[in-house]
């Protein structure tokens, strides 16, 4: 259940679920997200344009010409959270990763005093939960990594990180869908394409609330998959 509703600009509502970042709170955010989205796709709440879940907030944006904030706030206040389900929307993915493309494994190993293979094992063992997707198309923010692997962002972000790079920061893991700048510690690379700009019906592989497990592949397998 959200703790507070407020406006952001004249065409946005913030549903605030509190300050903590954990899977339980985020699951509530995503439940509400699915509920709002379902209503909108059904043709109810005409004028709602976007619904963006993040760790502990859902932001709803709308067209002021068609709907206003008080109508949406009334709707949100009437939502019965005990009736919202989550599991039906949850998908499970196995994402291949090649650790030979790591850029920071050696440094992480040195900083944390953990053997490189042990870092890889922890990463492979983790069942990741997707807290949110965004910043750029298809980009997942996943957790929770073992606290043993806790790292802050790189002091100096890299100017260019190749598409498919898998990074870690704090208790989170991400995958860069596009070549872009970034400050995460890169531990490997996946050949899996996260966003397909030619696929109209299902362009984005991963959704908020999905579950991800990584599977280690060799450089050769990476190249084969990459050329597919």
């Amino acid at each position: 259940m959200f703790k507070k509703l407020s406006n952001i600009g004249d065409c946005g509502i913030v549903c605030d679920f509190g300050d903590e970042v954990n899977q339980k709170i985020n699951s509530n955010v995503i439940k509400l997200f699915h509920h709002v989205r379902k209503q909108v796709l059904k043709g109810n709440l005409k004028g709602i344009l976007n619904y963006t879940p993040s760790y502990n907030k859902l932001i709803i944006n709308f067209d002021l010409q068609k709907i206003n904030s008080s109508t949406i706030i009334d709707f949100l206040e009437s939502v019965d959270f005990s009736q919202l389900s989550f599991s039906q929307n949850k998908k499970k993915w196995e994402i291949p990763i090649c650790y030979d493309f790591a850029m920071d494994l050696k440094n992480i190993s040195k900083t944390l005093k953990i053997d490189e293979n042990e870092i890889i094992n922890i990463h492979l063992k983790t069942i990741f939960f997707i807290y949110m997707v965004g910043f750029i198309p298809g980009h997942p923010f996943m957790g929770d990594l073992d606290s043993k692997l806790f790292l802050n962002r790189l002091k100096t972000p890299r100017v260019k990180i190749p598409a498919g790079s898998v990074g870690i920061v704090e208790k989170f893991c991400n995958i860069y869908p596009y070549e872009s700048p970034g400050g995460w510690h890169i531990i490997g690379r996946t050949p899996t394409k996260l966003f397909n700009t030619k696929d109209n019906s299902n362009p984005c592989l991963l959704s908020p609330g999905d579950i991800v497990k990584f599977k280690s592949i060799s450089k050769k397998e990476f190249e084969n998959l990459n050329n597919e």
Binding site: N7, C11, L49, N50, N61, F135, T197
Partner: protein, 319 residues
């Protein structure tokens, strides 16, 4: 399939296909995009008898030089734009905005510059023949989304349009331009992150729009704002027009191609009715922010929208 097209003899600085925007995808990381100045977009379509959701070409500062290689069309240009029509017999016509013109095979359209403004729009009767992606033809070049592989229009590209000219008459709309440099805002969700002095300064000082401004954001320059809580927040969804303030204290207004989530405190949010006005301000312009309440913003939007509706209905046939 119809084969009417323009050839691009000069692409202009940032010429892209745009429409109302692409929605219901921000949770996947896809920004709305769409025309920066929605009012000029709607007027451009109306003048050439298009549906109001039809796609157009948006250009910034310098527009494209297009040669009508095949077919005949009717077009309109909106915004505040200097352009010329060069007929196939070399006759040159100085163009006027907010009216339609006929263009015949081998004619050229030279969109020279936007005047005291950033964005201009080109609509053709019937629309451009491009394939939508997720219900929109808007280009988000950062993510390669949209027609033309998500890229800006380039030299020698072909710009196809759906059909030959149908309408015999030409039309015009009288559009009054606004010259106000005061942009109205609502307080942002992290307004209290800023010191009392900073809160006051934000509304009393002039901000200069810098060159670091594009479809994604507008960087402003002024006296730095003091943050007394934290210069980072948990990443949260971004709303168009949000004014975020990173560590250096200089505000950035997030515009149409904004990142979908962000982690900087937001001091304020530009109201919907002042957005078109803001995005047309050229770098170097000094602007001020005025704080208003939600009710006033909703009222202002009504006035803004009624005015557009009135403009759209005030279309007249050119004799």
């Amino acid at each position: 399939m119809n084969n009417n097209f323009f050839e691009v003899l000069r692409p202009g600085i940032n010429t892209t296909y745009q429409d109302k925007g692409r929605f219901h995808m921000q949770h996947l990381g896809v920004a709305p995009s769409g025309c920066m100045d929605q009012k000029s977009y709607l007027i451009a379509n109306k003048i050439v008898s298009n549906q109001n959701q039809e796609g157009v070409l948006e250009f910034a500062y310098q527009g494209p030089l297009l040669k009508l290689t095949k077919g005949k069309t009717k077009f309109s240009i909106t915004g505040n734009v200097i352009f010329k029509i060069i007929k196939s017999n070399n006759e040159t016509i100085n163009g006027e905005c907010n009216r339609s013109y006929d263009l015949d095979e081998k004619d050229q359209l030279d969109i020279l510059a936007t005047k005291d403004s950033v964005y201009g729009y080109l609509a053709v009767e019937g629309g451009f023949a491009v394939t939508p992606f997720c219900n929109s033809i808007s280009t988000l070049s950062r993510a390669n989304i949209g027609p033309n592989n998500g890229k800006k229009i380039n030299l020698k590209d072909k710009v196809f349009f759906k059909k030959d000219r149908q309408q015999k008459n030409n039309f015009s709309i009288d559009v009054l331009s606004e010259k106000n440099n005061v942009i109205r805002v609502l307080k942002g969700p992290q307004f209290n992150y800023f010191s009392k002095t900073a809160q006051k300064e934000f509304f009393s000082q002039e901000y200069k729009i810098t060159n670091l401004t594009d479809r994604m954001g507008m960087r402003l320059e002024g006296k730095g704002l003091e943050n007394i809580v934290s210069t980072n927040i948990r990443s949260e969804g971004i709303t168009k027009g949000a004014i975020q303030v990173p560590e250096d204290g200089q505000p950035i207004v997030l515009l149409t191609d904004h990142p979908t989530i962000g982690g900087y405190p937001k001091i304020a949010n530009v109201i919907s009715s002042d957005y078109d006005l803001l995005v047309q301000k050229i770098p170097g312009t000094n602007i001020e922010f005025k704080c208003i309440e939600l009710k006033e913003a909703e009222e202002a939007f009504k006035i803004y929208y009624d005015k557009i509706s009135k403009d759209l209905n005030n279309i007249s046939i050119l004799k």
